[in-house]
């Protein structure tokens, strides 16, 4: 249906273009007046007026129609005596009703379901019909309006440009909408979660095992149940595991990345730079799932084997393997950012140092790096924020069980791993377990935001210093 409507609107708009163009031409000849714009702009003007309002309306309608119909149907089903205790059962009944309507349901159909399916069909029809009528109304109204404007010989080019500028502005607003969407969707579930679990119990709890958190009725939790729940959602082991793996990653990425950045900026000839820089950046272009596969199937077992030979017990999901591979992934972020930062240290500082007899390495160590330090710290912070937000490597190569440890040979888990573990597969609605994933997401979002903010401020301050 929507495709037919879009098609019709497109065809109609296009024909309006030719109509508008020839119509204004003929008007100008008939009345012997000078047009205020080229004829084609009158065509564009009609096209924009015909298509934009109706398409925007269609989009909004399509987004909200299923939601509205669903709430109406569930309500009518409840009025007719259907019983459902929570959102899950309501959804199940709604799916059944939809299946009956589509003719793909083969279970028993009782009268309530039958009635509901009939009223579902009725509402679908009603909504579709009113959608068509409203869209035709909008198209006709906007076409009449714009035709009238054209007949009065408006400044079509200016008007078209105003509309287009609005369109440009609207596209740039999508960034804000996305941010709002992220904040809204994370907050919405997190607030529900924190209404069950005290935020301090979450932030300072030392035990994370959401699979134990089984709640019969989230709205009425007894004190006993809460004691148990509180124990299932402690954030400390997750942040410890995340920071630990990120720390190991940084131990790899910072020295290797920094030294290659320095070499690239200060020593390498143009030719070496031109070849090695893109190759190192390949590391950033490899999908993280590939690193995860490599860590889980090659590096993990390899470390385990070495451990066995040395008489150590190494988990095959050790933090070391995940951290090492994550560090390799992050090398290019550190190296290319610090390369940029070092390059923008003014040459006069180096020349001054050489003039008093310092060698190249002394100049780098004593002059260039201290001068570039805020920028380098900024780039390391950006790398840290990547490390804690990285998902696939840790999902595949790090452990699943929360484990407060500082032994790199044991397995630990991370925030992102837990989000994936909780949300993969079927989820129960309105259970603290599902909601906890959103609380973790919110925590992660805030953490990366703060890190990025500090990093960007540091880099910006540093840039301003030498501009």
């Amino acid at each position: 249906m929507n495709f037919v409507l879009i098609f019709l609107i497109t065809i109609f708009s296009l024909s309006l273009f030719f109509y508008g163009r020839s119509k204004t031409k003929s008007i100008s000849i008939e009345k012997n007046i000078k047009l205020n714009a080229l004829p084609k702009f009158y065509g564009y003007y009609l096209v924009l007026w015909c298509s934009i309002p109706s398409l925007v309306f269609l989009l909004i309608w399509t987004l909200f129609e299923p939601v509205i119909i669903k709430s109406i149907i569930i309500e009518t089903a409840a009025n007719q005596g259907a019983i459902f205790n929570d959102k899950n059962e309501a959804n199940l009944i709604y799916e059944k009703i939809k299946a009956i309507y589509a003719g793909t349901y083969f279970g028993d159909i009782d009268t309530i379901l039958k009635e509901s399916a009939l009223s579902y069909a009725k509402f679908i029809n009603l909504f579709t019909n009113s959608k068509i009528v409203l869209i035709f109304g909008i198209v006709i109204a906007s076409v009449i309006y714009s035709l009238k404007k054209i007949k009065n010989n408006n400044k079509a080019r200016d008007d078209v440009e105003v509309i287009l500028k609005g369109l440009l502005f609207a596209s740039s607003l999508i960034a804000i909408l996305t941010t709002l969407g992220i904040i809204f969707s994370l907050l919405f579930e997190s607030i529900k979660f924190f209404s069950v679990i005290n935020i301090f119990d979450y932030l300072f709890g030392t035990n994370w095992s959401p699979q134990r958190a089984f709640v019969r009725d989230a709205s009425a939790i007894t004190a006993e149940e809460y004691e148990e729940l509180k124990d299932a959602f402690g954030f400390i082991p997750l942040i410890a595991g995340t920071s630990f793996i990120a720390f190991i990653a940084m131990l790899v990425a910072v020295p290797v990345g920094l030294f290659s950045g320095i070499y690239m900026a200060e020593y390498a000839s143009l030719k070496v730079r031109r070849i090695s820089k893109p190759i190192i950046e390949i590391l950033a272009g490899i999908p993280t799932v590939v690193y995860g596969f490599f860590a889980a199937l090659t590096v993990g077992p390899f470390f385990r084997q070495i451990g066995e030979n040395l008489g150590l017990t190494v988990s095959s999901e050790s933090a070391l393997a995940a951290g090492l591979i994550m560090g390799i992934m992050i090398i290019p972020y550190v190296s290319s950012l610090s390369d940029d930062v070092i390059n923008s240290v003014p040459q006069s500082l180096r020349d001054g140092s050489y003039a008093v007899g310092a060698t190249k390495s002394e100049t780098i160590k004593k002059v260039v790096i201290p001068a570039a330090l805020p920028g380098i710290i900024g780039s390391v912070l950006l790398a840290v924020s990547r490390a804690i937000g990285e998902t696939m490597i840790v999902v595949m190569a790090a452990g699943l069980a929360a484990n407060l440890t500082i032994n790199p040979l044991e397995s630990t888990t991370t925030i992102t791993t837990q989000i994936v573990m909780i949300l993969v597969g079927d989820q129960e609605f309105d259970s603290p377990k599902t909601q906890s994933a959103f609380a973790l997401g919110l925590t992660l979002f805030i953490a990366t935001l703060v890190l990025n903010y500090i990093a960007q401020r540091a880099v910006k301050k540093y840039r301003e210093k030498y501009d």
């Binding site: 596209s171 020593y267 590939v290």
Partner: protein
């Protein structure tokens, strides 16, 4: 310490420092090499499959169809009996257990393969032909040398009897290596020898196309607005801060966004390329806007001023002159953004693309998988045969990424104008 000694020390410190830099670069290059070598050495064998040459006799009594039967009749007919009859004749079996062991050498789809041969030529009743039937995953891995023979029988998936048959087959040159068409054609399967990336390829293709259609126009329009039209005010600043922050938000957060808004609120179908495409578009948008703005910024102001001077409107100067000049940079930024989106896994897992999908999706609203998610799924499987399949999928994924990145570099170098 004399002056000379000190100087020597300083110079050797210089050399050491230089060596550290060089060593780090080589270390990074070494990592690339090890990774690529590891994947290629594991994955290249997946492009071939092992088949066993079997003599099939199309017995009219067992099949109950005649020569020249229509396709419907053939599809209806039961090929199970003649499949079993043919398979157990590969090697003389003494009892039922041995017959079972024989049948286990072949893929579970052996019946379908024989049926397919009959569909191609429906005059085979009463005739004997040689067919190449795909071997089971275990035999496949054994033949490729990925399966150790020297461990005790109870820890092996292949029995001693089966090894004897295998050796006999190899001796008689009945075992052949064929191009693995299943790997490209089939959807996912529990049997490694039948599993393929066909479904994942189509799913990824749809997702990326939807991502391109949504992200590219919006990103270009938004960057034109911000670079050319936006007044310097609080709203513009706010939009810019937003875009920079969004580019650094971990991808999994976009998965949570999609789960809550696209699936729970507006109820788009789960596990579909449509939702994946929208999610990836939201994620890619800021990552495309940033290079787009850079390439618009690189067009010198004299171009705009020249256009304005001969009477063009602001819009005409931008759309007729600035945008075409910035297009190569814009396109290459878009392609690199799409390449990142193609390899993205975490948000797709959250929107349910990890579902086990056997069918190949025909539209963007069918449940489907995608290449990186397929890598994740198979890497979790225990069967040995999936290791090479996973590596081969990674090879496909990496080759797509390499092609896209080369395209981006080529576009930039070939068409971009240098202004100084």
């Amino acid at each position: 310490m004399t002056k000379e000694e000190r100087l020597k020390k300083r110079h050797s410190a210089e050399k050491r420092f230089r060596f550290y830099g060089l060593a780090s670069i080589f270390l990074a290059l070494l990592f690339v090499l090890i990774l690529v070598h590891n994947i290629f050495s594991k994955g290249s064998s997946a492009f071939m499959k092992t088949a066993i040459n079997v003599e099939v006799f199309f017995d009219q009594e067992l099949l109950e169809i005649k020569n020249g039967a229509s396709d419907d009749e053939i599809l209806e007919a039961d090929f199970f009996d003649i499949t079993i009859e043919s398979l157990i004749k590969v090697y003389p079996a003494k009892n039922v257990e041995e017959e079972d062991a024989l049948i286990e050498l072949f893929t579970t789809d052996a019946e379908i393969e024989i049926k397919r041969a009959f569909l191609e030529n429906n005059n085979l009743i009463g005739k004997k032909i040689n067919l190449e039937i795909t071997a089971s995953d275990d035999i496949d891995q054994l033949h490729k040398g990925n399966y150790p023979r020297d461990i005790p029988e109870d820890r092996r998936r292949i029995s001693d009897f089966q090894l004897v048959i295998y050796d006999n087959l190899v001796e008689n040159q009945k075992i052949i290596k064929n191009f693995n068409n299943y790997f490209f054609k089939n959807g996912d399967s529990r049997d490694p020898e039948l599993a393929g990336i066909g479904g994942a390829l189509i799913g990824s293709f749809y997702s990326i196309i939807i991502c391109l259609l949504l992200a590219f126009p919006v990103a270009v329009l938004a960057s034109i607005y911000l670079e050319e039209f936006a007044p310097k005010n609080k709203i513009t600043d706010f939009i810019e801060i937003n875009i920079n922050n969004l580019a650094a938000v971990p991808s999994i957060v976009y998965g949570l966004l999609a789960l809550q808004i696209l699936l729970a609120t507006i109820q788009l179908p789960r596990s579909t390329p449509l939702v994946a495409g929208i999610t990836l578009a939201l994620m890619t948008l800021p990552r495309i806007i940033i290079p787009c703005r850079a390439s618009l910024k690189a067009v010198p102001p004299s171009i705009r001023e020249g256009a304005l001077a001969v009477g063009a409107s602001k819009f005409q100067s931008v759309f007729h002159h600035v945008v075409p000049l910035a297009l190569p940079g814009t396109l290459s930024g878009t392609i690199i953004g799409l390449a990142q989106a193609l390899g993205e896994t975490a948000p797709l897992i959250l929107i349910g693309m990890v579902a086990f999908v056997v069918d190949i999706p025909s539209t963007p609203i069918d449940p489907s998988s995608s290449l990186p998610v397929q890598v994740y799924l198979w890497s979790e499987s225990a069967e040995r045969g999936f290791v090479e399949k996973t590596s081969a999928t990674i090879m496909m994924l990496l080759s797509f990424l390499i092609v896209m990145n080369f395209l981006a570099v080529y576009l930039r170098q070939k068409f971009e104008k240098r202004w100084n």
